[in-house]
Point group: C2
Chain length 409, copies 2
């Protein structure tokens, strides 16, 4: 008998009818003799509807109260899924993040899980119950409700799998696994049977929205095996796990594209020690994560400092930079949200200059200008104009022969 | 500086626009230098909408999960009201029942408040914040979310006022106070400036739906002064408080009518000691409250036992009685939900046989048949056919000269 953690996203529980289907799916796993813990998101567009209600009240809601508001969405889902499972004759209980004891950092709307208390869940499992847990939410040490950011239910599922030492964490989505590129952009993209945590992590951070990046970090840290699969069919999906050196055959695993990024530049910053520190401290204070960074020396005494942020953080980042620009006597702030980040990811990619050259060459051949570059052990990212993004993805996917036909030949 | 607890019902917070209006009302009280704790219900029809979602899943939802589901309604309200107050520039925080520490009995959907922890609220008030609390909900000792039954937010408000030793508990409703009868049935009904807890308690249990009965019990026990008033105007409403002997001038304070009752009879029950005990133990097990009771001896060895219950409990009561009827070899179960309970309430009513005679006389004069009678120190209730209810209320209101014109003459 195994312990399985399953996570179902908002589209899987969008209507009472769909919730009843998920109940049957959960009971299939149960019927195979497994203990089952299920994590669910809010129904369909509930989160957006709640945000719209808040917007009708004020343009600037407090983040604590936003969390108070949004966390009701998952609470509705867990109650309804429990009712659906109970109606099929099984013993079941729903638990909120607070009831489980999912302790998070204090930062509202973007909290990190600090600790998961397994006691209550294990107690309920021992009584033979299926346990339904609200994704996306926890409590900070002040007992205030926090949320984990968009996609946070993935992290909830992985954190529970780790705390409960589950055998597998199944993440059900509307795609049937992780692909070498987005099949809507690259029709011959191929489903990967296995991918390492590091590659998945890069994929996730780079805009392949299959899993929330933090959930992959968490899985890597606690060695949780994730199975990403479709909630609409029974096919095997993609296993995300530690991959040994010998298995790293493919150099490039996939091409991703993130269109929800924006570029911010603080212009003509005095070239003094500590200035870069001040820029990034100001962003940290504003709770903005920075991705790519370029510091370019233009004239003798001043620099431009450019960086990219998530589009949703653009307003906060720009506001923080405008304040800082005045304080430093810099030349102002520029922004551009009309950009996209195209990246290649691969376990064996680090220290292989041929790969980078090949990617840049493919882009140059299409006449696509690269605005910023960043690299890591397992990825190379290029920032370019949004309008060229799909063409860039296709060109790069092609140059590394990632498609179905190329592999078959 | 006083501490004021205010409660706003679902119709007062039905839309974002109305929530903004309530925010202004709260700030008026705040601007007068008071500390303010606000209790809110779920927006408009939210509770019914959530119940409808549950109904689409199953006809028989678990009560624990129903509470899990319904408690989200108030959580949405408190978040939005906090946002609205914050947007007007005031410091504010929302708290769920669990966060306050409103401990209740274990019974789901009908829990009783056992203890209110004042620590968190007092701490927030000391920091100068307005505190918004979710009505209707608490947690049992297992940390499961419970709800207090329809109208439970009144009880939440009174319980908080008691725990915080508030100066007054203002209950805002869509009527402007407590009347001698329902003005929709009796056009010349008069608003009472003051009413005692006991009278209000009888009024409430008898179908005057201004306040939840339990909230009045609670107020009496902890000597909390309640001010029932309209959320649509600034008029003084009705004060509910302990009334001294000298103040008890009016014998009959009001006439009430409860149409949401049903009569159940278990027929031809063997006349053995302990049988009545078994009937009411079975109802207690089914968590059904019983109101009026009649045991009539028909033939030598068998009795009929009749009683009334809330209409919402009829199904449960009938089921319990059918089981018992089979076990006892009784003659079956009869039910009638087409009845209404018309009552008079008055502090000086007990031990005054003239009053009862006057009431029964007024009903007889209209040819209205009385099916059951029950009395207490401060009320006399008659069960009669639903179709005659309004006529009965008018006749009784008239006979005791409770109307506006009679008082003025």
């Amino acid at each position: 008998m195994a312990l399985v953690v399953q996570k179902y996203g908002g589209s899987s529980v969008a209507t009472p009818e769909k919730i009843k289907n998920i109940a049957k799916r959960v009971l299939n796993t149960r019927a195979q003799g497994n203990d089952v813990v299920v994590v669910v998101s809010a129904m369909g567009d509930t989160t957006d509807e709640l945000l719209e209600l808040a917007r009708q009240i004020t343009d600037d809601p407090q983040e604590r109260e936003t969390d108070m508001l949004l966390s009701t969405g998952e609470q509705v889902s867990i109650a309804l899924l429990s009712m659906a499972i109970h109606a099929l004759g099984y013993s079941v209980i729903s638990l909120t993040g607070a009831q489980v004891g999912i302790l998070t950092s204090a930062v509202h709307t973007k909290a990190r899980i600090v600790k998961v208390n397994s006691e209550r869940i294990l107690g309920e499992l021992q009584q033979g119950k299926i346990v339904i847990v609200a994704g996306f939410q926890g409590v900070n040490e002040n007992n205030d409700i926090t949320t984990l950011g968009r996609g946070g239910s993935d992290t909830t599922a992985v954190a529970l799998a780790a705390a409960l030492q589950a055998d597998v964490c199944e993440i059900y989505t509307d795609v049937s696994g992780v692909y070498t590129a987005d099949p809507r952009i690259v029709p011959d993209a191929r489903k990967l049977p296995v991918i390492s945590y590091d590659e998945m992590l890069e994929m996730a951070s780079l805009g392949a929205v299959v899993l929330q990046p933090r959930s992959v970090e968490y899985a890597k840290h606690y060695n949780v095996v994730i199975h990403v699969r479709s909630s609409f069919n029974g096919e095997a999906g993609t296993i995300v796990r530690e991959v040994g050196e010998v298995e790293k055959e493919l150099v490039v695993s996939g091409v991703t594209c993130d269109k929800k990024v924006a570029k911010v530049a603080i212009l003509e910053v005095p070239d003094r020690p500590g200035v870069a520190y001040q820029v990034f401290a100001a962003l940290a204070d504003a709770n903005v994560n920075v991705d790519m960074i370029i510091q370019s020396i233009k004239r003798g005494a001043v620099n431009d400092i450019s960086f990219t942020v998530a589009e949703s953080d653009l307003r906060k980042a720009t506001a923080a930079m405008q304040q800082l620009s005045e304080r430093l006597g810099a030349g102002g702030v520029a922004q551009d949200s009309n950009v996209a980040k195209v990246s290649i990811v691969g376990a064996g990619l680090g220290g292989n200059p041929v790969i980078a050259a090949k990617m840049f060459g493919a882009l140059a051949e299409k006449g696509i200008n690269i605005e910023m570059i960043s690299t890591s052990e397992i990825k190379i990212s290029c920032l370019l104009q949004m309008a060229k993004a799909d063409e860039a993805v296709q060109a790069v996917h092609q140059i590394f022969s990632l498609g179905v036909e190329e592999k078959a030949s």
